[in-house]
């Protein structure tokens, strides 16, 4: 499935493939070779031009790309072993929120993450990556376990929001998220949070309090999705592009406003065009960041974590 702005690139890539075939079939004609080089060059320029100048809405589209890697894809590719753990010990096991211990180059880490599905059946099974209260409670249970066994925590965030349903309200969606946010500040072990797709509001923040909060290049993180923002402020679903612009929800925006700590680059064209390279970059970032965080004492980490979030925001004060 191709997005609008992926179309011209795909066409050029197809043409290039055809020419390469011709080149092989026609006794390696030097004229064709020249043509290939020309197309390769313009393809590179087109890609560079396209992806450097994406609108905010186009980045939102990339963050939701049907082929984009999800949490378990990262874990499977990055870890040499992974033991998944289930359940909140109270109500259920939330399939939209996964957790477990994984080993990164032999280093044991607790992974937590929202999980989306790739086909209709899986999407329903994973509830479209929208966790219920038991998902947040499961995440916190596992994070406290990581603290007990002195293992660092990595949270991978990818959710269109916490689930808005009757049962979710009945079981305290708001309380579950609030509880996580507060308690994550006091975790004695290092916590790294990475937005790998969508970071929608409280549903994202419920597992996104960390010593480092990073965003992949083509992701979004804000208080509301562009669609919902459009429906509330413009009273129509048609202003999602404007809403995305107004919300300033891209990684670059969020870093510029000092609301995240860094951006993890993606391959040209987005994470899905070269997943292997993406996994490698993310893995290396986690290992490097942990090395830095582990030089601090737990008390200093907690203090810096609190100070960082406390400093967020812009206001005026007349004394």
């Amino acid at each position: 499935m191709l997005l609008d702005f992926e179309q011209p690139i795909a066409e050029l890539e197809k043409k290039l493939a055809e020419m390469k075939r011709d080149f092989a079939n026609n006794g390696q004609d030097p004229d064709i070779k020249e043509g290939i080089q020309l197309i390769e060059k313009s393809l590179h320029n087109l890609k560079k031009n396209t992806y450097e100048n994406l609108t905010r809405w186009q980045r939102v589209q990339l963050s939701r790309h049907a082929e984009r890697p999800y949490t378990l894809d990262y874990i499977e590719a990055m870890c040499d072993d992974f033991v998944e753990l289930h359940g909140d010990r109270q109500v259920a096991d939330d399939k939209a929120m996964i957790g477990g211990f994984g080993s990164l180059d032999g280093k044991p880490i607790l992974f937590i993450g929202h999980q989306k599905g790739r086909n209709t059946k899986q999407r329903q099974f994973r509830n479209f990556g929208m966790a219920n209260p038991e998902g947040y409670r499961k995440a916190l249970r596992l994070m406290k376990m990581a603290e007990k066994f002195n293992r660092p925590i990595v949270c991978l965030i990818d959710t269109p929001g916490a689930f808005p349903g009757i049962e979710a309200e009945e079981r305290g969606q708001a309380e579950a998220i609030a509880h996580n946010i507060r308690d994550m500040f006091m975790l004695k072990v290092p916590v790294i949070c990475i937005i790998i797709g969508e970071g929608a509001s409280g549903g994202a923040l419920g597992i996104a309090i960390g010593d480092r909060v990073l965003m992949l290049e083509n992701t979004w993180y804000s208080v509301i999705s562009p669609e919902s923002c459009s429906s509330i402020l413009w009273r129509s679903w048609d202003y999602k592009e404007q809403a995305a612009e107004a919300l300033k929800l891209t990684a670059k925006d969020m870093q510029g406003n000092k609301l995240i700590d860094g951006i993890i680059p993606e391959p040209l064209g987005g994470a899905h065009t070269n997943p292997a390279q993406t996994y490698q970059t993310v893995k290396q970032t986690i290992l490097d960041t942990l090395k830095t965080l582990e030089t601090l004492s737990p008390e200093d980490r907690i203090m810096q974590r609190i100070d960082k979030f406390t400093a967020m925001g812009v206001y005026e004060e007349n004394i």
Binding site: A162, I166, I181, R182, L233, A246, L249, L259, V314, Y315
Partner: protein
């Protein structure tokens, strides 16, 4: 067309000569239509004398009701909103703030103060729904964080009164992070073993309920308040079904174990005093 004319019972005053009732002398309850003197409404803690409906009051009324002899010191009164994102929908955010200020006479959707409740020093942060729907932006978050810090520094119990639709969209990511900021301070308050009482009033939803409003050592609510994470309209649209009667009311939350108790506003001050006596001091 005789029925147009007031022929009977001698009603002959032309409209232009009709006397106006002084503004605000009478108050009509929005739920039971009972007509009462505004003065009686005030005396009844802004609840209907007939059906007990709790009017949506703000910081001015709560401070007046709760602090002894109406004496209190306001905290951080001079923080006002900036527009870091230059947010613009049908109207610019700066215009919305200006209109909000003019309409409410307030600087933003929260005021904080310190004073005594029946002799006990407390810090109170109270939301004002009349300012952009009580939405939480940086000013609200910052003032709550500072009020909690004040409670920490002076070792005063902290009372939070929430009344809000949630985070303020016009500050986008900044609003979201106020949930984190306030919760971080509450983590410190909990560590210091200082009581935190959260009073949820109508309505308390979204990012406010998913952060400081639900983190009380004691979560208490006024009767029949709408409390939830997602708004009822969003839930109805998502699941495509009508919602059960009484869904997301205070009574519903009490039943499901998320509130310690529901308190009638007339008994708020005395109940807080009784509770604090049990856990604070000596």
């Amino acid at each position: 067309m005789a029925w147009f004319n007031r022929k009977e019972k001698g009603i002959i005053t032309p409209t232009t000569e009709k006397k106006e009732t002084p503004d605000g002398l009478w108050h009509k309850c929005p739920t039971c239509d009972h007509l009462m003197l505004t003065e009686d409404l005030h005396k009844n803690a802004y609840t209907c004398v007939s059906c007990g409906y709790h009017e949506r009051i703000g910081s001015e009324e709560y401070f007046e009701m709760l602090f002894d002899d109406h004496v209190f010191t306001e905290l951080d009164a001079n923080i006002t909103a900036a527009d870091p994102l230059q947010f613009y929908d049908s109207k610019s955010y700066l215009d919305r703030i200006r209109d909000g200020k003019a309409k409410s006479g307030l600087k933003d959707a929260l005021r904080s103060a310190t004073g005594k409740i029946n002799g006990v020093d407390v810090t109170i942060a109270c939301m004002d729904f009349t300012f952009i729907g009580g939405s939480m932006g940086t000013v609200v978050g910052e003032k709550i964080a500072r009020a909690i810090q004040h409670a920490l520094n002076t070792r005063q119990p902290m009372l939070m009164i929430s009344r809000s639709g949630g985070a303020r969209m016009q500050e986008a990511g900044f609003s979201l992070m106020q949930m984190a900021k306030t919760s971080a301070k509450l983590a410190l308050l909990a560590e210091a073993k200082i009581p935190y009482i959260s009073l949820l009033t109508d309505p308390t939803t979204g990012g406010v309920s998913a952060s400081y409003a639900m983190l009380g050592d004691f979560n208490i609510a006024e009767p029949n308040a709408l409390i939830g994470f997602a708004g009822p309209r969003v839930i109805r649209e998502t699941i495509g079904k009508d919602l059960p009667k009484g869904f997301q009311t205070s009574e519903y939350l009490l039943e499901h174990g998320f509130l310690d108790f529901i308190v009638n506003r007339k008994e708020l001050k005395s109940t807080l005093t009784r509770l604090l006596k049990m856990i604070w001091g000596q």
